[in-house]
Amino acid sequence: MNRTMTSVAALGLALMGSAAAAEKVKFEYWYGLTGDLGAVVLETCNRFNASQAEYEAVCVGQDGYEKAVQNTIAAFRAEKHPTLLQSFDAGTADLMLSGEFYPVTQLMADTGVTVDWSDYFPGIANYYSSSKGEFFSMPWNSSTPVYYFNKDHFAKAGLTEAPLTWEGMEAALVKLKESGQACGLAYAPSSWIDLEQFSMAHNVPVASNNNGYDGLNTELLYNTTLHVKHMENIQRWITEGVASIRTAAAGKSARDSFVEGECSVFFSSIADHNTVHKLKPSFAWDVQIIPTYEGVERHNTVVGGASLWVLSGKTPEEYKAAATYLAFLATKEEQQFLLENSGYIPVTKSTYEALKAEGFYSAEPYINRDIAMKSLTFTEPGPLTRGIRLGGMIQIRSEWQSEVEAALAGQKTMKEALDTATSRGNDILARFAKTYEGKSFP
C-alpha cells in the first residue's frame, strides 16, 4: 500500500515536472568545442537556462568542429537538425551557399531581440557578415594568432625585446642558438598562421576575387606572393638549426616543447594563452603579435575560432528562444565568463573597453592577453584583409599541409610544393564552383 502511494506520488511529481518543462520553449544547440572548452559551452547553457524561465537550451557536444558540421549535415538531410550550430569558418562555405541558414541580423530583427551590431570589432564583423553588412552568424569564441616566447631564454641570449619583424625574429633565433639554446622556434606547419593570417598581416592575397569574396571563379595566388619567401625562410631556419619541427605526430607538439622549456618560441592562437598558463611553465613567458617583413606595411589579422549559425526549418518560437540565447551570449557578463574560462578575446568594443577600465588585463593570468586585440585592430580591414571565403577550404588547407610537410622532409623544393598545392587547390575550387553553378556568396 505504502509503496503504491509513493509510486503514485512519484508519477504525479514526474507529470508536474514534465508539465513545467513543457511550458518552456526548447531548442537544440550542437557545439564543436571539446574538453575544458566544451564544459564552458555547456555552462553557458546552464547559465542561460537559470537566467530566465521561458526558454531552455538543450546543448549537445559533437566532439570537434568538423564532426559538428558533419553530424549537422546528416541530421539536416533527415530533418532532425538543431536550431543552433557552432561551426568553424573553414566548414561554412557550403552552408553559406546552400542558404539553409537564418542570418542573425535578420533573426534579431524578426524576433525583436536587440543586439548592437555596430559594437562588434570590424575585424570580427567583416569576417562573419555578407557583402551587404548583414551578420550571417553570431561571433562567439574568437581568437587570432600570436607568438609565445620564453623570457628567460631571451634574457640569457641578451634579447630585451620580442621582435616585431621576421628579420628581427631570425636575428633573435640566431642569438638564442649562440646562447646555447638547442631549439629556438618550435615549428609546426599551420596553414591558418603561416598562410592565411600571414597574408592578412602583409596585405597580400591568398586567392583572386579579393580572397574569394567577389565570386566563385576564384584561383589561389599564394604561390606568387611573399608567402613563398616566408616558407623558404622557415625551411632555411630548420636547416640552419635555429628552428625545429615539433608536431604531435613526431612525438611532441610545439606547445608542449615550449611549456617544458625545451624551445623558446612557438606560434599559436591566443586561445592557448589560458592553456599555457594552466600548465604552469617554470619560466617567465609572454606573447607578441605575429611579425611582418621589413618594408611591408603591417595590416590587421583576422579572427579565428567559431561562430554560431542559426539553421533553417524551425518554428518561430524556437527562433525566438535561440535569438534570446545569442543575445545572452553577447552580454558583457557572458563574454567575461568565456574570457575567464578560456583564452578567447572579447568580440565587442564596449566589453573590451569596460574590461580594460576594470583592470581585467592588468592582472594575472590575463596580462597582455589583449595583445590579440592590437593585432586584430591594427588597421581597418581592407579588401584583402577581411578574411577568406573559399569553398573546399578544409581540403585546400590539407593540400597545403601535405605539400609543405613533403618540402620540409626534403622530397621537393618549397616552391614546387606550393605550386602543387596551389594547382590542386584550384582544382578543388573549380569543382566547388561547378557544384554551386550560378550561385554566389551572399
Binding site: E66, V69, Q70, I73, F76, R77, G91, D94, L95, L97, S98, G99, E100, T247, A249, A250, G251, K252, G392, I394, Q395, S398, S402, E403, E405, A406, A409, Q411, D427, I428, R431, K434, T435, Y436, E437
Partner: protein, 293 residues
C-alpha cells in the same frame, strides 16, 4: 555442381523478409545512393545536384595522388594478409601441438579480434611513437633513426604491423579449428610411417588446410581494404605526406571532412569494384588449387 530447387512459399518469403529488408536498407539503398552521387556533383546541404557523367571518375583516376593511395592500399593489404596469416598459422600449429599452456594461449590469442581498430591504433601509438613509444629506444641508440612522422616506409610498416596484429586472431581461430578437424587417424598413420612433426605439417596438415587458407585469404584481403580506417586514423592520420592515405581513409577525409560527397562516392564505387575484382581473381585462379575433400 548440384543445384537445389525450391517451390515458392509464402512462409519462406515472410521469414526471409526481415533479413532482406536489413540488407536492402543498409546495403543496397546506400550503395545505390553512392552510385547516383558518383555521377553528380552533390551539394552537401541538399538543394540540388548537377549530372556530370563520368567526370568524378575521370578526376579521381587522373589524380597521381589517388594512384599513390591505391598503391599503398595494395601494399597494406598484401603485407597485412601475409603477416597476419603467417603468424596465425604458426601459432595455430603450435597450439594444435598441445604444447604446455596451450589452453591459455588459445584463449589469449582470440582476444585481439575483439579490440576495436581505433583502440588498436591508440595502443600501437605507445609502441611506435618516436618520442615516447617502445621504438623510441632506437632513437637513443642513433638519434632520429625511427620517426614514422618523417619516414613514409616506417609509417607504412607501423600500420601494417598494427593491422596484422588485429587480424592474427581471426585467422588463428579458423586455422586452429581446421587443424583440429583433421582426423587423428591420418596423423597417427603418418607417425607410424615415421614422419616427424615438421614432415607431418608440410605433407599432411598444410595441404589439408588449403580450403581454410583460401577462405582466410579472401576475407583478409577484403578486410584490409575496407576495415583499415580506425588504425590509420589513430596511428598516422594518412601521413606523412599522404604515404599512408589508404583508399578507405581518403574516402573518409574527402567525403566527411571536406564535404566532397561526389568525389568520395566515386572513390567508394572504385574501391567496391576493386575488391570485387580481387575476389573474382582469387576464386578464378587460386581456388583451382584448393582441394575440398
Amino acid at each position: 555442381m548440384r543445384r537445389a530447387y525450391f517451390k515458392f512459399s509464402w512462409i519462406a518469403a515472410v521469414l526471409l523478409a526481415p533479413q532482406l529488408m536489413i540488407i536492402f536498407v543498409f546495403f543496397y539503398w546506400p550503395s545505390a545512393q553512392a552510385l547516383y552521387w558518383a555521377f553528380t556533383l552533390e551539394q552537401p546541404w541538399g538543394g540540388g545536384n548537377t549530372w556530370v557523367g563520368f567526370e568524378n571518375f575521370a578526376n579521381v583516376l587522373s589524380d597521381p595522388y589517388y594512384w599513390g593511395s591505391v598503391r599503398v592500399s595494395v601494399i597494406y593489404a598484401v603485407a597485412t594478409t601475409i603477416l597476419a596469416m603467417g603468424m596465425a598459422l604458426i601459432l595455430a600449429l603450435f597450439a594444435d601441438r598441445q604444447l604446455a599452456g596451450y589452453r591459455a594461449y588459445r584463449i589469449g590469442l582470440i582476444w585481439p579480434y575483439a579490440v576495436a581498430a581505433p583502440a588498436v591504433g591508440l595502443s600501437f601509438q605507445f609502441v611506435f611513437n618516436p618520442g615516447a613509444g617502445i621504438f623510441s629506444y632506437l632513437n637513443t641508440l642513433s638519434p632520429g633513426v625511427w620517426d614514422p612522422s618523417v619516414y613514409p616506409w616506417q609509417a607504412i610498416a607501423s600500420i601494417v604491423i598494427a593491422g596484422a596484429w588485429k587480424q592474427v586472431a581471426y585467422s588463428f581461430i579458423f586455422f586452429l579449428a581446421a587443424l583440429q578437424a583433421i582426423p587423428r587417424s591420418l596423423s597417427e598413420a603418418a607417425v607410424m610411417d615415421g614422419a616427424r612433426p615438421l614432415r607431418r605439417m608440410i605433407d599432411l596438415q598444410l595441404p589439408l588446410l588449403t580450403p581454410t587458407f583460401f577462405f582466410l585469404l579472401v576475407i583478409n584481403i577484403t578486410d584490409s581494404f575496407t576495415d583499415s580506417f580506425g588504425i590509420v586514423d589513430t596511428l598516422t592520420g594518412g601521413g606523412p605526406f599522404r604515404s599512408t592515405d589508404l583508399m578507405v581513409y581518403k574516402i573518409y577525409t574527402d567525403g566527411f571532412q571536406s564535404l566532397d560527397y561526389s568525389g568520395a562516392a566515386a572513390q567508394s564505387i572504385i574501391l567496391m569494384l576493386l575488391v570485387m575484382a580481387l575476389t573474382f581473381v582469387q576464386f578464378r585462379y587460386i581456388e583451382r588449387r584448393v582441394h575440398y575433400t
